[in-house]
Protein backbone atom coordinates (compact mmCIF):
# COMPACT_ATOMS: atom_id res chain seq x y z
CA UNK A 1 0.00 0.00 0.00
CA UNK A 2 2.76 2.35 0.99
CA UNK A 3 4.56 1.50 -2.20
CA UNK A 4 1.52 2.32 -4.29
CA UNK A 5 1.21 5.70 -2.62
CA UNK A 6 4.92 6.33 -3.19
CA UNK A 7 4.47 5.38 -6.81
CA UNK A 8 1.49 7.68 -7.20
CA UNK A 9 3.43 10.50 -5.59
CA UNK A 10 6.35 10.06 -7.89
CA UNK A 11 4.15 9.93 -10.97
CA UNK A 12 1.63 12.43 -9.68
CA UNK A 13 1.80 14.65 -12.76
CA UNK A 14 1.38 11.75 -15.13
CA UNK A 15 -1.59 10.41 -13.16
CA UNK A 16 -3.15 13.87 -13.15
CA UNK A 17 -2.57 14.07 -16.89
CA UNK A 18 -4.23 10.70 -17.45
CA UNK A 19 -7.23 11.66 -15.34
CA UNK A 20 -7.76 14.98 -17.11
CA UNK A 21 -7.14 13.50 -20.54
CA UNK A 22 -9.54 10.61 -20.07
CA UNK A 23 -12.11 12.97 -18.62
CA UNK A 24 -11.78 15.25 -21.68
CA UNK A 25 -12.15 12.32 -24.03
CA UNK A 26 -15.24 11.11 -22.20
CA UNK A 27 -16.77 14.56 -22.49
CA UNK A 28 -15.77 14.73 -26.15
CA UNK A 29 -17.40 11.45 -27.06
CA UNK A 30 -20.38 11.65 -24.76
CA UNK A 31 -21.51 15.10 -25.77
CA UNK A 32 -23.47 13.68 -28.64
CA UNK A 33 -21.89 15.94 -31.13
CA UNK A 34 -24.80 17.36 -32.96
CA UNK A 35 -28.01 16.85 -31.11
CA UNK A 36 -27.01 17.65 -27.61
CA UNK A 37 -26.96 21.34 -28.28
CA UNK A 38 -28.73 22.04 -24.99
CA UNK A 39 -25.73 20.80 -23.07
CA UNK A 40 -23.16 22.57 -25.13
CA UNK A 41 -23.34 25.95 -23.75
CA UNK A 42 -23.45 28.35 -26.61
CA UNK A 43 -27.02 28.78 -25.53
CA UNK A 44 -25.98 29.34 -21.93
CA UNK A 45 -26.79 32.87 -21.06
CA UNK A 46 -23.44 34.39 -20.23
CA UNK A 47 -21.66 33.21 -23.34
CA UNK A 48 -24.67 34.44 -25.25
CA UNK A 49 -24.38 37.84 -23.62
CA UNK A 50 -20.73 38.18 -24.49
CA UNK A 51 -21.40 37.28 -28.10
CA UNK A 52 -24.35 39.62 -28.10
CA UNK A 53 -22.19 42.45 -26.90
CA UNK A 54 -19.66 41.84 -29.64
CA UNK A 55 -22.41 41.62 -32.19
CA UNK A 56 -23.87 44.96 -31.21
CA UNK A 57 -20.53 46.46 -32.07
CA UNK A 58 -20.31 44.62 -35.36
CA UNK A 59 -23.85 45.42 -36.31
CA UNK A 60 -23.12 49.06 -35.75
CA UNK A 61 -20.25 48.87 -38.19
CA UNK A 62 -22.45 47.23 -40.79
CA UNK A 63 -25.49 49.47 -40.43
CA UNK A 64 -25.32 50.69 -44.00
CA UNK A 65 -25.38 47.24 -45.51
CA UNK A 66 -28.18 46.12 -43.21
CA UNK A 67 -30.16 49.23 -44.06
CA UNK A 68 -29.91 48.38 -47.72
CA UNK A 69 -31.03 44.85 -47.03
CA UNK A 70 -34.01 45.99 -44.98
CA UNK A 71 -34.94 48.65 -47.49
CA UNK A 72 -34.94 46.02 -50.19
CA UNK A 73 -37.12 43.74 -48.16
CA UNK A 74 -39.46 46.61 -47.31
CA UNK A 75 -39.80 47.41 -50.97
CA UNK A 76 -40.52 43.78 -51.74
CA UNK A 77 -43.20 43.58 -49.09
CA UNK A 78 -44.69 46.91 -50.00
CA UNK A 79 -45.07 45.79 -53.57
CA UNK A 80 -47.20 42.93 -52.33
CA UNK A 81 -49.67 45.15 -50.45
CA UNK A 82 -53.24 44.66 -51.64
CA UNK A 83 -53.56 48.38 -52.41
CA UNK A 84 -51.04 47.94 -55.15
CA UNK A 85 -53.25 45.55 -57.05
CA UNK A 86 -56.27 46.38 -59.10
CA UNK A 87 -58.83 44.11 -60.57
CA UNK A 88 -58.53 43.52 -64.24
CA UNK A 89 -61.94 41.99 -64.40
CA UNK A 90 -64.40 44.57 -63.14
CA UNK A 91 -67.23 42.12 -62.88
CA UNK A 92 -65.58 40.45 -59.90
CA UNK A 93 -65.17 42.05 -56.50
CA UNK A 94 -62.93 41.55 -53.49
CA UNK A 95 -64.09 38.96 -50.99
CA UNK A 96 -63.12 38.96 -47.34
CA UNK A 97 -61.40 35.65 -46.93
CA UNK A 98 -63.08 33.56 -44.25
CA UNK A 99 -61.99 30.25 -45.69
CA UNK A 100 -58.25 30.55 -45.23
CA UNK A 101 -56.61 30.68 -41.86
CA UNK A 102 -53.09 31.80 -41.10
CA UNK A 103 -50.74 28.86 -40.93
CA UNK A 104 -47.24 30.30 -40.48
CA UNK A 105 -46.21 33.00 -38.07
CA UNK A 106 -42.94 34.91 -38.32
CA UNK A 107 -40.86 36.44 -35.57
CA UNK A 108 -37.80 38.53 -36.25
CA UNK A 109 -34.52 37.85 -34.47
CA UNK A 110 -30.94 38.95 -34.74
CA UNK A 111 -27.97 36.66 -35.20
CA UNK A 112 -25.63 37.20 -32.30
CA UNK A 113 -23.03 34.59 -33.21
CA UNK A 114 -22.37 32.51 -36.27
CA UNK A 115 -19.72 30.17 -37.54
CA UNK A 116 -19.42 29.28 -41.21
CA UNK A 117 -16.05 27.66 -41.63
CA UNK A 118 -16.20 24.80 -39.14
CA UNK A 119 -16.98 21.14 -39.71
CA UNK A 120 -20.40 21.67 -38.19
CA UNK A 121 -21.64 25.18 -37.78
CA UNK A 122 -24.12 26.79 -35.45
CA UNK A 123 -25.85 30.15 -35.17
CA UNK A 124 -26.95 31.85 -31.99
CA UNK A 125 -30.01 34.10 -32.05
CA UNK A 126 -30.74 36.81 -29.51
CA UNK A 127 -34.22 35.52 -28.82
CA UNK A 128 -35.21 32.47 -26.83
CA UNK A 129 -38.07 30.82 -25.07
CA UNK A 130 -39.36 34.10 -23.68
CA UNK A 131 -39.42 35.47 -27.22
CA UNK A 132 -41.68 32.61 -28.29
CA UNK A 133 -39.01 30.50 -29.94
CA UNK A 134 -39.10 26.73 -29.56
CA UNK A 135 -36.90 23.95 -30.90
CA UNK A 136 -37.67 22.73 -34.44
CA UNK A 137 -38.89 26.07 -35.71
CA UNK A 138 -37.54 27.07 -39.11
CA UNK A 139 -35.29 30.08 -39.58
CA UNK A 140 -35.29 32.10 -42.79
CA UNK A 141 -33.95 35.39 -44.06
CA UNK A 142 -35.33 37.43 -46.94
CA UNK A 143 -37.35 34.44 -48.09
CA UNK A 144 -34.46 31.99 -48.18
CA UNK A 145 -33.75 29.13 -45.81
CA UNK A 146 -31.21 29.50 -42.97
CA UNK A 147 -31.75 26.53 -40.66
CA UNK A 148 -33.76 24.99 -37.85
CA UNK A 149 -33.77 25.94 -34.16
CA UNK A 150 -32.14 23.16 -32.18
CA UNK A 151 -32.12 24.39 -28.62
CA UNK A 152 -33.35 27.39 -26.67
CA UNK A 153 -32.61 29.06 -23.37
CA UNK A 154 -34.65 31.91 -21.92
CA UNK A 155 -33.04 34.63 -24.01
CA UNK A 156 -31.07 32.85 -26.71
CA UNK A 157 -31.51 30.05 -29.14
CA UNK A 158 -29.11 27.93 -31.13
CA UNK A 159 -29.82 27.20 -34.76
CA UNK A 160 -28.64 24.27 -36.83
CA UNK A 161 -28.00 25.96 -40.20
CA UNK A 162 -27.78 24.32 -43.62
CA UNK A 163 -24.01 24.44 -43.00
CA UNK A 164 -24.23 21.59 -40.51
CA UNK A 165 -24.11 17.96 -41.63
CA UNK A 166 -26.97 17.25 -39.23
CA UNK A 167 -29.30 19.61 -41.04
CA UNK A 168 -31.86 17.60 -42.96
CA UNK A 169 -34.58 18.95 -45.16
CA UNK A 170 -36.31 17.74 -48.26
CA UNK A 171 -36.10 20.05 -51.25
CA UNK A 172 -37.72 20.13 -54.64
CA UNK A 173 -36.80 21.36 -58.07
CA UNK A 174 -38.89 24.28 -59.18
CA UNK A 175 -40.94 23.30 -62.19
CA UNK A 176 -40.68 19.52 -62.16
CA UNK A 177 -41.32 19.35 -58.42
CA UNK A 178 -39.08 16.32 -57.87
CA UNK A 179 -37.86 15.81 -54.33
CA UNK A 180 -34.33 15.46 -53.08
CA UNK A 181 -32.42 15.91 -49.88
CA UNK A 182 -30.07 18.76 -49.14
CA UNK A 183 -26.70 17.93 -47.61
CA UNK A 184 -23.70 20.05 -46.83
CA UNK A 185 -20.32 18.25 -47.01
CA UNK A 186 -18.70 18.99 -43.62
CA UNK A 187 -16.15 21.76 -43.77
CA UNK A 188 -16.80 22.71 -47.38
CA UNK A 189 -17.42 26.12 -48.92
CA UNK A 190 -20.26 27.85 -47.02
CA UNK A 191 -21.72 29.22 -50.25
CA UNK A 192 -22.56 25.79 -51.67
CA UNK A 193 -24.38 22.59 -50.74
CA UNK A 194 -25.29 19.31 -52.41
CA UNK A 195 -28.68 17.98 -53.39
CA UNK A 196 -29.02 14.22 -53.33
CA UNK A 197 -31.57 11.61 -54.35
CA UNK A 198 -32.90 13.27 -57.47
CA UNK A 199 -33.16 10.46 -60.03
CA UNK A 200 -31.40 10.77 -63.37
CA UNK A 201 -34.53 10.72 -65.48
CA UNK A 202 -35.38 14.15 -64.11
CA UNK A 203 -34.10 16.95 -66.33
CA UNK A 204 -31.87 19.23 -64.30
CA UNK A 205 -29.90 22.08 -65.78
CA UNK A 206 -27.59 24.69 -64.37
CA UNK A 207 -29.42 27.69 -62.99
CA UNK A 208 -32.53 25.74 -61.91
CA UNK A 209 -34.11 26.90 -58.69
CA UNK A 210 -34.31 24.67 -55.62
CA UNK A 211 -37.18 25.27 -53.19
CA UNK A 212 -38.48 23.92 -49.90
CA UNK A 213 -41.20 21.31 -50.06
CA UNK A 214 -43.09 22.34 -46.97
CA UNK A 215 -43.25 18.70 -45.90
CA UNK A 216 -41.01 18.86 -42.88
CA UNK A 217 -43.28 21.54 -41.43
CA UNK A 218 -40.19 23.53 -40.44
CA UNK A 219 -40.71 25.78 -43.41
CA UNK A 220 -43.56 26.87 -45.63
CA UNK A 221 -43.41 25.49 -49.14
CA UNK A 222 -41.60 27.27 -51.98
CA UNK A 223 -38.96 29.17 -50.03
CA UNK A 224 -35.70 29.66 -51.88
CA UNK A 225 -32.81 27.40 -51.02
CA UNK A 226 -30.53 28.03 -53.94
CA UNK A 227 -29.70 27.58 -57.59
CA UNK A 228 -28.07 24.65 -59.34
CA UNK A 229 -24.48 25.65 -60.01
CA UNK A 230 -22.81 22.40 -61.03
CA UNK A 231 -23.75 18.92 -62.23
CA UNK A 232 -21.19 16.17 -61.64
CA UNK A 233 -23.14 13.12 -62.73
CA UNK A 234 -21.36 9.79 -62.53
CA UNK A 235 -22.35 7.26 -65.21
CA UNK A 236 -22.65 4.35 -62.74
CA UNK A 237 -25.06 6.10 -60.40
CA UNK A 238 -28.80 6.41 -60.66
CA UNK A 239 -29.02 9.84 -59.09
CA UNK A 240 -27.82 13.26 -60.09
CA UNK A 241 -24.93 14.82 -58.25
CA UNK A 242 -26.10 18.37 -57.94
CA UNK A 243 -24.18 21.23 -56.39
CA UNK A 244 -26.23 24.28 -55.57
CA UNK A 245 -25.30 27.80 -54.69
CA UNK A 246 -27.16 28.71 -51.52
CA UNK A 247 -29.47 31.69 -51.67
CA UNK A 248 -28.53 32.68 -48.13
CA UNK A 249 -25.19 34.39 -47.62
CA UNK A 250 -24.24 32.95 -44.24
CA UNK A 251 -21.23 35.21 -43.87
CA UNK A 252 -23.39 38.31 -43.85
CA UNK A 253 -26.32 36.99 -41.92
CA UNK A 254 -27.74 39.56 -39.54
CA UNK A 255 -31.52 39.66 -39.27
CA UNK A 256 -33.56 36.50 -39.58
CA UNK A 257 -37.17 35.44 -39.20
CA UNK A 258 -38.18 32.45 -37.14
CA UNK A 259 -41.12 30.56 -38.61
CA UNK A 260 -43.60 28.88 -36.37
CA UNK A 261 -46.09 26.52 -37.88
CA UNK A 262 -49.38 27.04 -36.09
CA UNK A 263 -50.75 23.70 -37.24
CA UNK A 264 -47.56 21.73 -36.62
CA UNK A 265 -48.87 20.00 -33.53
CA UNK A 266 -52.02 18.93 -35.25
CA UNK A 267 -50.11 17.57 -38.24
CA UNK A 268 -47.58 15.74 -36.08
CA UNK A 269 -50.11 14.21 -33.74
CA UNK A 270 -52.10 12.87 -36.66
CA UNK A 271 -48.99 11.22 -38.06
CA UNK A 272 -48.08 9.78 -34.66
CA UNK A 273 -51.58 8.38 -34.25
CA UNK A 274 -51.33 6.72 -37.60
CA UNK A 275 -47.88 5.33 -36.86
CA UNK A 276 -49.06 3.96 -33.54
CA UNK A 277 -51.99 2.32 -35.22
CA UNK A 278 -49.69 0.74 -37.82
CA UNK A 279 -47.17 -0.17 -35.16
CA UNK A 280 -49.75 -2.23 -33.31
CA UNK A 281 -50.36 -4.27 -36.44
CA UNK A 282 -46.64 -4.77 -37.13
CA UNK A 283 -44.86 -5.86 -34.01
CA UNK A 284 -44.80 -3.19 -31.32
Amino acid sequence: MKNIIELLKRHFVFVLFLILFVFSLVVLFSSNRYHNASFFSQSSDWVGKIYDWRDQLQRYLRLKEINDQLALENANLRSQLPENYFFIDTTKHDVQDSIRKQRYFFRSAKVSNASVNRESNYLTLDRGRLGGILPNMGVITNGSVVGVVSSVSDHFSVVLPILNPKFQESVKMKGSGDFGLIAWPPGSDPAYADVKDIPKHVQVSIGDTVLTTGYGSHFPADLFIGYVSELNDQPEENFHRIKIQLATDFRKLSHVQVVSDILKQEQDSLLIQQQQRDGVEDNN
Binding site: F12, V13, L16, F17, L20, F21, F23, S24, L25, V26, V27, L28, F29, S31, R33, Y34, N36, F39, F40, S41, Q42, S44, V47, I50, R54, S115, V116, N117, R118, E119, S120, Y122, P186, G187, D189, P190, R251
Partner: protein, 173 residues
Amino acid sequence: MGSKTITSFLRIFFLLFLQALVVSRLQLLDGFVLPWVYIFGILMLPFDTPKWLVLILAFVTGYFMDLFTGPMGMHMTACVALGWLQPMVQRLMSPREGYDAIQEPTIQKMGLSWYLTYAGILTFCHHFILFYAETLRITPFWYQIGHIIFSAIGTLMLLVVGQYLIFNKKVKN
Protein backbone atom coordinates in the same frame (compact mmCIF):
# COMPACT_ATOMS: atom_id res chain seq x y z
CA MET B 1 6.30 34.80 -8.39
CA GLY B 2 3.05 36.24 -7.09
CA SER B 3 2.73 39.01 -9.63
CA LYS B 4 4.00 36.69 -12.37
CA THR B 5 1.22 34.23 -11.54
CA ILE B 6 -1.44 36.91 -11.65
CA THR B 7 -0.08 38.20 -14.94
CA SER B 8 -0.24 34.68 -16.32
CA PHE B 9 -3.87 34.28 -15.24
CA LEU B 10 -4.82 37.62 -16.72
CA ARG B 11 -3.00 36.78 -19.93
CA ILE B 12 -4.87 33.48 -20.30
CA PHE B 13 -8.16 35.24 -19.60
CA PHE B 14 -7.47 38.03 -22.08
CA LEU B 15 -6.35 35.62 -24.80
CA LEU B 16 -9.51 33.54 -24.41
CA PHE B 17 -11.58 36.62 -25.16
CA LEU B 18 -9.29 37.70 -27.97
CA GLN B 19 -9.63 34.26 -29.52
CA ALA B 20 -13.38 33.99 -29.13
CA LEU B 21 -14.27 37.53 -30.15
CA VAL B 22 -11.69 38.42 -32.77
CA VAL B 23 -9.39 35.70 -34.04
CA SER B 24 -12.06 33.02 -34.52
CA ARG B 25 -13.85 35.44 -36.80
CA LEU B 26 -10.94 35.77 -39.20
CA GLN B 27 -11.82 34.14 -42.49
CA LEU B 28 -8.46 33.27 -43.92
CA LEU B 29 -8.77 31.38 -47.21
CA ASP B 30 -12.33 30.30 -46.40
CA GLY B 31 -11.40 28.91 -43.04
CA PHE B 32 -8.56 26.80 -44.40
CA VAL B 33 -6.26 28.66 -42.01
CA LEU B 34 -7.72 28.78 -38.54
CA PRO B 35 -5.32 30.17 -35.95
CA TRP B 36 -5.80 29.32 -32.28
CA VAL B 37 -3.75 31.98 -30.51
CA TYR B 38 -5.24 31.37 -27.06
CA ILE B 39 -2.64 28.63 -26.44
CA PHE B 40 -0.12 31.45 -26.10
CA GLY B 41 -1.32 31.78 -22.50
CA ILE B 42 -0.09 28.25 -21.79
CA LEU B 43 3.11 28.57 -23.83
CA MET B 44 4.04 31.72 -21.90
CA LEU B 45 3.78 30.20 -18.40
CA PRO B 46 7.02 30.89 -16.48
CA PHE B 47 9.59 28.08 -16.49
CA ASP B 48 9.23 27.48 -12.77
CA THR B 49 5.48 26.82 -12.90
CA PRO B 50 4.82 23.41 -11.35
CA LYS B 51 3.85 20.77 -13.90
CA TRP B 52 0.55 20.01 -12.22
CA LEU B 53 -0.41 23.69 -12.35
CA VAL B 54 0.38 23.83 -16.08
CA LEU B 55 -1.93 20.85 -16.57
CA ILE B 56 -4.76 22.33 -14.52
CA LEU B 57 -4.47 25.73 -16.22
CA ALA B 58 -4.44 24.11 -19.65
CA PHE B 59 -7.49 22.07 -18.74
CA VAL B 60 -9.41 25.12 -17.52
CA THR B 61 -8.39 27.13 -20.59
CA GLY B 62 -9.63 24.33 -22.83
CA TYR B 63 -12.89 24.16 -20.93
CA PHE B 64 -13.62 27.85 -21.41
CA MET B 65 -12.61 27.72 -25.07
CA ASP B 66 -15.07 24.85 -25.52
CA LEU B 67 -17.81 26.94 -23.97
CA PHE B 68 -17.18 29.55 -26.62
CA THR B 69 -16.77 27.40 -29.68
CA GLY B 70 -19.20 24.52 -29.60
CA PRO B 71 -19.36 20.86 -28.70
CA MET B 72 -17.61 20.27 -25.39
CA GLY B 73 -14.36 18.32 -25.17
CA MET B 74 -12.36 19.30 -28.26
CA HIS B 75 -10.29 22.06 -26.76
CA MET B 76 -10.17 20.32 -23.40
CA THR B 77 -8.53 17.26 -24.96
CA ALA B 78 -6.08 19.26 -27.04
CA CYS B 79 -5.17 21.59 -24.16
CA VAL B 80 -4.58 18.82 -21.63
CA ALA B 81 -2.20 17.19 -24.10
CA LEU B 82 -0.56 20.58 -24.60
CA GLY B 83 -0.23 21.09 -20.84
CA TRP B 84 1.48 17.74 -20.53
CA LEU B 85 3.82 18.24 -23.46
CA GLN B 86 4.83 21.80 -22.57
CA PRO B 87 7.14 20.93 -19.62
CA MET B 88 8.52 17.98 -21.59
CA VAL B 89 9.47 20.11 -24.56
CA GLN B 90 10.94 22.70 -22.23
CA ARG B 91 13.10 20.05 -20.58
CA LEU B 92 14.24 18.64 -23.92
CA MET B 93 15.25 22.08 -25.11
CA SER B 94 16.81 23.40 -21.95
CA PRO B 95 20.09 25.26 -22.47
CA ARG B 96 23.20 23.84 -20.78
CA GLU B 97 23.07 26.27 -17.90
CA GLY B 98 19.37 25.68 -17.28
CA TYR B 99 16.51 28.13 -17.20
CA ASP B 100 17.26 29.71 -13.80
CA ALA B 101 18.05 33.22 -14.87
CA ILE B 102 15.09 33.56 -17.15
CA GLN B 103 11.50 33.34 -16.14
CA GLU B 104 9.27 33.28 -19.19
CA PRO B 105 9.80 31.74 -22.61
CA THR B 106 9.77 34.76 -24.92
CA ILE B 107 11.59 35.50 -28.16
CA GLN B 108 13.46 38.35 -26.51
CA LYS B 109 14.93 36.13 -23.84
CA MET B 110 15.38 32.83 -25.66
CA GLY B 111 16.02 33.92 -29.24
CA LEU B 112 13.87 33.47 -32.30
CA SER B 113 15.05 30.02 -33.39
CA TRP B 114 14.62 28.54 -29.91
CA TYR B 115 11.18 30.04 -29.66
CA LEU B 116 10.06 28.90 -33.10
CA THR B 117 11.11 25.32 -32.33
CA TYR B 118 9.47 25.38 -28.91
CA ALA B 119 6.21 27.01 -30.00
CA GLY B 120 6.22 25.17 -33.32
CA ILE B 121 6.28 21.69 -31.80
CA LEU B 122 3.62 22.51 -29.23
CA THR B 123 1.37 24.43 -31.62
CA PHE B 124 1.47 21.64 -34.17
CA CYS B 125 0.68 18.97 -31.55
CA HIS B 126 -2.18 21.03 -30.17
CA HIS B 127 -3.67 21.79 -33.59
CA PHE B 128 -3.28 18.19 -34.67
CA ILE B 129 -5.18 16.81 -31.68
CA LEU B 130 -7.74 19.61 -31.79
CA PHE B 131 -8.51 19.07 -35.45
CA TYR B 132 -8.97 15.32 -35.19
CA ALA B 133 -10.97 15.72 -31.98
CA GLU B 134 -13.26 18.01 -33.93
CA THR B 135 -13.70 15.96 -37.08
CA LEU B 136 -13.13 12.36 -35.94
CA ARG B 137 -12.45 11.51 -39.60
CA ILE B 138 -9.22 11.04 -41.52
CA THR B 139 -10.37 11.87 -45.05
CA PRO B 140 -9.52 13.82 -47.16
CA PHE B 141 -6.12 13.22 -45.68
CA TRP B 142 -3.88 15.78 -47.43
CA TYR B 143 -6.45 18.52 -47.16
CA GLN B 144 -6.65 17.92 -43.42
CA ILE B 145 -2.89 17.81 -42.97
CA GLY B 146 -2.61 21.02 -44.98
CA HIS B 147 -5.28 22.61 -42.86
CA ILE B 148 -3.44 21.66 -39.67
CA ILE B 149 -0.02 22.78 -40.88
CA PHE B 150 -1.19 26.09 -42.30
CA SER B 151 -3.30 26.81 -39.24
CA ALA B 152 -0.28 26.13 -37.06
CA ILE B 153 1.83 28.44 -39.22
CA GLY B 154 -0.87 31.10 -38.91
CA THR B 155 -0.91 30.74 -35.15
CA LEU B 156 2.89 30.92 -34.98
CA MET B 157 2.99 34.04 -37.13
CA LEU B 158 0.45 35.77 -34.92
CA LEU B 159 2.38 34.71 -31.79
CA VAL B 160 5.69 36.01 -33.13
CA VAL B 161 4.29 39.27 -34.48
CA GLY B 162 2.32 39.75 -31.27
CA GLN B 163 5.43 39.33 -29.17
CA TYR B 164 7.43 41.84 -31.18
CA LEU B 165 4.58 44.31 -30.83
CA ILE B 166 3.99 43.83 -27.11
CA PHE B 167 7.28 42.98 -25.48
CA ASN B 168 9.76 45.15 -27.36
CA LYS B 169 8.81 48.22 -25.35
CA LYS B 170 9.05 46.37 -22.07
CA VAL B 171 12.61 45.31 -22.77
CA LYS B 172 13.71 48.80 -23.67
CA ASN B 173 12.18 50.45 -20.63
